[in-house]
């Protein structure tokens, strides 16, 4: 029986008959690192990129996801439109090399609620998430907390102390955000490598307990 080539363009060369790319034949190429990732979530300007840069081996990079939104109502300029809007959303990320040929990626989420649908892509296969909280704008982290809770993705809540000042107790923040007692919470200072490290350790431990 002839096979069906539904997706093969008529102009395409004989891609289908190419052998699969050789994977680590007996060559001297180094083994690829094992890759893991942690998602850094929270509202806009809560310090996600600062957090990532405090511990990343590389300067945080920014990747863009172009998306087309099917606008059904009002565009940003206030004009009614049914056109597609193409916007690009920046996601910052960093990378840490760990012993044992491990690479840990830290991905910052796009800050706004309306990009929540992109998070599915980000969290696929992730260890979990550090949700950064600015107590002056608690409402900004509701979407992140809801998202990870509803998908049962391990997360910890790190209250970023701007200028080293904690304005609220962790218990108050937990209550205000309705965070369940088993979710670790801590103060952090996103500018500080040691504090960032502690938040990551807390998350990985939490993920192991969940696992």
């Amino acid at each position: 029986m002839a096979s069906v080539h539904s997706d093969v363009a008529s102009t395409g060369p004989a891609r289908a008959v190419l052998p699969p790319a050789p994977r680590h034949a007996a060559s001297s190429r180094p083994a690829p690192p094992t890759v893991v990732k942690i998602v850094v979530a929270g509202g806009f300007a809560v310090g996600k990129t600062t957090f990532i840069s405090s511990i990343s081996d590389i300067e945080p990079l920014s990747t863009e996801a172009a998306m087309t939104e099917h606008s059904l109502g009002i565009d940003h300029a206030g004009a009614a439109t049914a056109a597609k809007l193409t916007t690009t959303v920046a996601m910052d990320f960093g990378r840490i090399a760990l012993p044992g040929n491990l690479w840990l990626y830290l991905f910052g989420t796009p800050g706004q609620d309306r990009f929540l649908f992109m998070w599915d892509d980000l969290v696929r296969g992730a260890i979990g998430s550090v949700v950064l909280v600015d107590t002056e704008r608690l409402d900004q982290c509701f979407p992140a907390v809801d998202y990870f809770e509803s998908r049962q993705i391990p997360f910890v809540v790190a209250v970023n102390c701007f200028n080293g000042v904690a304005r609220h107790t962790l218990d108050d923040v937990r209550e205000a955000l309705s965070i369940s007692p088993d979710v670790p919470m801590m103060y952090t200072d996103a500018r500080t490598r040691a504090a960032t490290k502690q938040a990551l350790v807390s998350l990985v431990r939490h993920a192991m307990q969940r696992g």
Binding site: D7, A45, E64, T86, T87, V89, L98, F107, R124, L200
Partner: protein, 126 residues
Amino acid sequence: MSRSVPGRPDEQPAPDVRPYTLTGGRTRSVTGDLPLEALVEALAASPSGRTPEERDLLALAAGGFVSVAELSARTRLPVGVVRVLVGDLEAAGLLSVHGLGSTPGESSAVPSMSLLESVLDGICAL
């Protein structure tokens, strides 16, 4: 230090060239959606007959393992476009893609307990 204007924090103007003109309108890679952190390795020197964007990707992947996210950041191409082009280049045998211990293109597995232990030890040792 000034902050960006509130309300439009993460957005930048759309590029002059619509990104998906680079992929022939395709938004899906032939190999499925690669994870952002999937690692790419060039298998061949940059050949003729590929687009400038594809040659850029191959050149970046020639220097060692590089993630889809880094390819996107360094070429300024959107992630979706990079995924499609990487899929094409992989299908052409010009590069290989390494997943997360699972089959590339499939859903990434949740990290195993032994992997989490290694990560924990590694972070603690930083």
